[in-house]
Amino acid sequence: MTVEAPAPAGSPTLPASIDETETLLRSAGYIADRSLATVLYLSLKMNRPLFLEGEAGVGKTEIAKVLSATLGRSLIRLQCYEGLDVSTAVYEWNYAAQMVEIRIAEAAGETDREMLGKDVFSERFLIKRPVLQALEPDLGGAPIFLIDELDRADEAFEAFLLEVLSDHQVTIPEIGTIHASQPPIVVITTNRTREIHDALKRRCLYHWVDYPTAERELEIVTTKVPGVDDRLSREIVAFVQMLRAEEDLFKQPGVAETLDWATALTELDQLALDPETVSDTLGVLLKYQDDIDRIKGSRTRQMIDDLRREVAAGA
């Protein structure tokens, strides 16, 4: 459909249009909306990292997994946490082996200090961590590099990523610069528990992953939870959408929670929502006691009545 830019060598399987991107995701059971497909297509085409922000459980991490599965690329995942540093994220030297090397050199009577320094800090002794692994050439094409929940790492860590994200390279003082022959496909996710620095965001294509519309969510439920009753799934989605519209909830349920709930109710052999079971299983959807207390009981009954009326009016 759109203009075919000269495809980068070695990536023949990348989708050639936004439509194809949407189909590709759908083929792996990921129902994306048009905005997400567009930004994903662009990030693949322009070799730019994709920066996904959104509430927990809207399917940010899933994108990387689906990409890896559909494109047949390996997935390298870096889970961020506070205190994450170069030696766990980028590279580390194998100190024990280095010391043995020094000892051997001593025993052999080698005295060339320059050579010894070069030997000890050579690639043989380098332990590659996820960032460096992502830059390695891969037979199946450049890997998918998932940097998950970046907001959990402290600010100092963001700086390590800048070089990798913009130039696809890592500089190791003792060796030099390691450059990726094929830039990896980078997906960064954050839950927005803090703001990521603008310098990092600038290097990426940004996208806010929103909760899906009722229509799309219904599609997701029927794709992801096989065997769920048609009427039940309709009611589940309507109920969850109503919950999200509630003003005072501290944490709204995500798509992951909807899927869990659909599975739970199917396991309980439910064919339609009834206030009792909903109240009993609210813990699957809502994770704060205040929220559960607010919705439990009479509010649940009222919401179910409302949605029945809506369905009746719509039908």
């Binding site: 459909m1 759109t2 203009v3 830019a5 000269p6 936004i18 048009r34 905005s35 567009t38 930004v39 297509y41 662009l42 990030s43 085409k45 322009m46 922000e53 946490y81 506070e82 205190g83 540093d85 030696s87 030297w93 100190y95 280095q98 010391m99 020094i102 050199a105 001593e106 200090r113 010894l116 320094g117 000890v120 800090f121 907001d151 402290d154 600010e155 100092a156 003792e174 839950n191 927005r192 528990t193 803090r194 703001e195 603008d198 965001k201 600038r202 294509l205 940004y206 996208h207 806010w208 005072d248 501290f250 205040d290």
Partner: protein, 423 residues
Amino acid sequence: MTAGTDTTGSKTPPAEADPSGRLADNIVYFARVLRNAGLPVGPAAVVDAIRAVEVAGIQSREDFYWTLHSIFVKKREHRPVYDEAFRMFWRSRGLIEKLIALFSPTAPPQPSREKAKAGAARVAKALFEGLQNPTEVKKPEIEIDATLTVSGREVLQKKDFAQMSADEIADAKRALADLVLPLDRVRTRRLVPTSRGRRIDPRRSLRSSMRAGGDIIALRRRDPDEQPPPIVAICDISGSMSQYSRIFLHFLHALTEHRRRVHTFLFGTRLSNVTRQLRMKDPDQALDACTDQVEDWSGGTRIATALHDFNRLWSRRVLSGGPIVLLITDGLERDSDEDLAREMDRLHRSCRRLVWLNPLLRFEGFEPRARGVRAMLPHVDEFRAVHSLGAIADLCAALSGRAGREETEPRAWLSRADRKAAG
């Protein structure tokens, strides 16, 4: 300019955007509109946008929208602005439709330039219309001392602060350097080199040993780093606090400059986040930006509502990393106590330490009638009162003073107040 003359020499469909064509110009103008509307759009983003449109092509309005969106929008908050700007800029000119139909190289450049500016003006107007509020009250002569009065009424008005003098700035810097907040050092999980730490730093040990020829390996050490925790300040700017607003804002501005992670929120009847505004280097400029952002200066107070908004909308975004929350208010509140207590409890449970700084409440003036105070006190970790507040130094002293437990412990305050009321 015409289709098919690009370097690849391939046959190009008419939808392709030639970077040298009108489209590139228009994207540049569009970026300028966005910049005027307050989006941080740099020149690099413009180049990216043109490339993105080249890559994606223009197939439909929606695709074009999302293509530019992926480049220009870096924050969720920017989406409405972008949306508005896109709608006005591209619809008013019917440009996309034209581009899809035929990429016209002969379109005269002049009209498009003018229209782009008109679009910018309209977007700017649409954006800033809300600020020219009809209820805006100018009151240079009449000074109403609203101290110690409580009101939940919403009054939207702007405020002008006296500019900061050079001496004041210097004083503030000096005072802030001495500021030590309670529990001000927090151990992080990041390791830093130290001379006599408890853990061995193998990398530095080996490197230094290599430098000396590898004969001796002298062990280097490292230890967890200690950092000041983030600070979140929630500051009351209602009528009863108006005489202190300037000093608090200057204090928070200096604090933002002094430390890395400071978030500031102001509330009267509504809550506004002024963190970005306070990051401006110049204190007067920063305060001006704040006054532009906030509409409820010196009006009523709704502490419970403001805290509720904070808990719901912001707590998850700014309360990471175990921050100290500075709540600056006089606690004179009209909302129901139950709500206030609940919101305070929620806030208290999501931060490392909740410090309430109260500029008005002296022990002598404490009346059990101020029920808001009673609802809030049980939920704070530390309660600090400022008895005279003339300069930032006073504020720093009140916050960093190593006051005994007796003075800052909120429960002790309450019981003393009760004794006083009884006797």
